[in-house]
């Protein structure tokens, strides 16, 4: 039996080998390093009376807590714009995708939105990891991402608009505020990932130039919940203030430990940059009352635009919901995109890039203006204090919007920190 089949199986093997070889040979004609490659042809359909855009947020996984709120805000903005007649007389059709809290999924879904759903632009992303994962996808396919969260700076892609704060709109104002209130020594506590590490590098440079002593710098792994050792050390250091760049559940454990050892906002205030309205509930107001946070927007910002925004949001999603900085930035990003499209009279990426500079929007946080050079947005910085109702109230704000400076080129003391691309 076996012998009879032998020639046939050899033939089959040979044919399979040939097939593989042929396939590989056909593939070898691809571009090599240094070749000019044409970006993939855009498939965006602008002929109908609707225009597709994508919303890419984590609807499942650990980041879903935060990112679903951003998704809600994007939907709110789209609905409002559609109700007001749409963009260039086209209704916006929003395609939702789930980033599942995993960078690889973000990259995969971004590519799907661009190449299969043919969206004109995408709104979303939260973690730096997700943005870094999506960045090459948007650059390779020459499409646009609107990224709504404060981040560590040091980035400026042609294909991304950053509508959250960069470091000089959040961290530096926070340090200025602390310095103004007479803080002479600080302790740094952060989650172990890129944002806290970058932020702390900036803080160290700032402190060196402004005569502030950094008494300690500690990191816990993301999601870490044991703060006994760190809080012991913070307590023993006797610092004037703590600068907190912890993320997520770690904040809950940190502030509980902090108040449990008897530390208070009067004795040693904590300045946080990742705690917004939604997180306060989980930490427990009693553990965090009086502590400080640095953002560009709070639900309590007093302006007509904001009260309209908050009312609209509560009407759409429930009276018990709160609005926060990333939500507001995401909401703004849709409007900024729409305004840019109207100005450019085109949905094409190149036209939007060319016309973005100076596009502004009267947003809940005040006027925001796109900087055409670095694709960031001029924003007002605010320091807020957490009060007993769980909301944050502005205790200090910058005089008007601060121009974005993602590479901190305008700060002498930061010269050693940064590299320009």
């Amino acid at each position: 039996m076996q012998n009879r089949f032998k020639p046939t199986s050899r033939a089959l093997a040979a044919s399979a080998a040939i097939l593989i070889a042929a396939g590989s040979a056909a593939a070898c004609g691809g571009a090599r390093a240094g070749d000019e490659t044409a970006a993939a042809e855009s498939c965006v359909d602008t002929s109908g009376d609707t225009i597709k855009v994508g919303a890419l947020n984590s609807l499942s996984g650990t980041m879903a807590i935060s990112e679903t709120t951003v998704n809600d805000a994007i939907h709110l903005a789209v609905d409002e714009i559609n109700a007001a007649g749409g963009v260039m007389d086209k209704q916006i059709e929003l395609v939702d995708e789930d980033g599942a809290s995993e960078p690889t999924v973000f990259a995969e879904k971004a590519e799907k939105l661009i190449r299969e759903d043919c969206v004109a632009s995408v709104f979303g992303g939260w973690t730096s990891a997700s943005r870094k994962a999506m960045l090459p996808v948007f650059e390779d396919n020459d499409s646009l991402l609107y990224y709504p969260v404060q981040y560590e700076g040091l980035e400026a892609s042609e294909n991304i608009f950053y509508t959250g704060a960069t470091t000089n709109q959040q961290i530096i104002p926070a340090l200025d505020y602390l310095a103004e209130t007479g803080v002479k020594s600080i302790y740094l506590v952060g989650s172990d990932y890129v944002f806290p590490r970058t932020a702390n590098a900036i803080i160290n440079a700032y402190a060196a130039a402004h005569d502030i002593e950094v008494l300690g710098e500690d990191y816990v792994q993301l999601g870490g919940v044991d703060f006994s050792t760190i809080v012991q050390q913070v307590n023993a250091s006797g610092a004037d203030a703590v600068f907190n760049t912890l993320n997520g559940d770690s904040n809950v454990a940190f502030f509980r430990e902090y108040s449990n050892v008897g530390l208070t906002a009067e004795e040693m205030p904590v300045m946080s940059v990742s705690i917004a309205e939604e997180e306060v509930g989980g930490i427990g107001v009693e553990n965090i009352e009086g502590q400080l946070a640095a953002w560009n927007y709070y639900q309590t910002v007093e302006s007509d635009v904001n009260s309209t925004f908050v009312e609209a949001f509560k009407a759409a999603y429930g009276a018990d919901r709160v609005t926060s900085d990333p939500m507001e930035a995401a909401y703004n990003s849709v409007y900024l995109w729409a305004a840019t499209v109207e100005k450019a009279e085109s949905f094409a990426v190149a036209d939007i890039q060319a016309n973005a500079d100076g596009v502004s929007f009267e947003s809940p946080e005040g006027t925001v203006v796109i900087d055409g050079d670095n694709h960031h947005v001029a924003k007002t910085a605010r320091i807020g204090e957490i009060q007993s109702d769980g909301l944050l109230y502005t205790v200090w704000e910058s005089e008007g919007p601060i121009e974005p400076d993602p590479f901190l080129e305008g700060y002498d003391w930061a010269a050693d920190l940064t590299v320009t691309e």
Binding site: D192, D218, G223, V225, S228, D249, A253, E257, V261, E278
Partner: protein
């Protein structure tokens, strides 16, 4: 010197948290030889029990004390059901049990997410546990002292139950030699169910207590589970004494590593220590039965 005392105290405190989380796990492993990956979710259930109790009662102090026994019942009941529905049917397939209970854990997490929201909820710390106590120059939060005390009470209670009650004797008989116990007329089925109830109930208690220091969210259990497993592995599965020693040792190790390097490296350091430790005291040898290899 102060530094050392501080580290030891922190180690004790971290150790008692690990111990609370691992005690039930150690008991159920010793009894049935199965690893319950849903144990973390039983802890989470305890956390949410504390939350719901506090929502209903209001006063943080009273609700904490009430939540402890309720948490025990909630965790215990969940364990009882899990044992009856799944684990009993997979008795000779310990690795499969591990994976099946992981699936149960996934579902429980999602149930919590769908019923309480993905955002962490707040369980207030009662007034009498706020603030810290100075011990030898180190400030220990009262909440941690409470957890230490609770861990001691739990270990003592479990030891007493095992040693002096008829049910406890039956459990010990089954742990010692399942077949022999069966021939002696002990219903191993009932004993299994009882052990699982107690072990899972301890997870519920741990959950209630851990709301004092940590967050209450659907993924809360996960943050304790791996460390709890390591305690059980290092302590020798099913040995309460081993679990106590291992928990305290790992807690102290963690504190010392953390003070001298970073918290992230501390985790890696602890892992390496455990692998080295297993070189000296591998547990595989003790599980071998000589008469039959089946």
């Amino acid at each position: 010197m102060d530094m050392l005392v501080g580290q030891l105290l922190t180690g004790l405190s971290t150790g008692s948290i690990l111990l609370l989380a691992a005690l039930g796990l150690s008991l159920t492993y010793g009894q049935m030889g199965v690893i319950n990956m849903a144990h973390g979710e039983f802890i989470m259930a305890g956390c949410y029990t504390a939350y719901v109790t506090q929502q209903v009662i209001g006063d943080a102090g009273v609700s904490l004390l009430i939540a402890l026994p309720i948490g025990f019942l909630v965790g215990g009941l969940m364990g009882f059901i899990l044992e009856a529905l799944l684990i009993r049917r997979l008795y000779h397939r310990p690795l499969d049990t591990l994976l099946v209970t992981f699936g149960v854990g996934l579902i429980l997490q999602q149930v919590a997410r769908d019923s309480f929201g993905a955002q962490a909820v707040n369980v207030s710390v009662p007034e009498f546990l706020r603030g810290g106590v100075d011990i030898l120059g180190t400030t220990l939060p009262k909440t941690r002292l409470f957890i230490m005390a609770l861990a001691i009470v739990a270990v003592t209670a479990v030891t007493l139950v095992l040693r002096f009650t008829p049910a406890g004797r039956r459990i010990r008989a089954v742990v010692g030699n399942r077949d022999l116990a069966e021939t002696a007329g002990i219903s191993t089925r009932k004993v299994d169910a009882a052990t699982f109830f107690i072990g899972s109930g301890l997870a519920g208690i741990a959950g209630v207590a851990l709301t004092l220091i940590g967050s209450t969210s659907p993924t809360t259990g996960q943050s304790y589970l791996v460390d709890a497993f390591l305690v059980v592995v290092a302590g020798g599965m099913g040995r309460i004494k081993g679990a106590v020693i291992a928990a305290v040792a790992l807690g102290t190790l963690q504190a010392v590593f953390e003070t001298n390097s970073t918290a992230s490296l501390a985790k890696v350091g602890v892992f390496i220590v455990i692998v080295v430790f297993l070189q000296l005291r591998p547990q595989g040898l003790f599980t071998l039965r000589t008469r039959s290899l089946a």
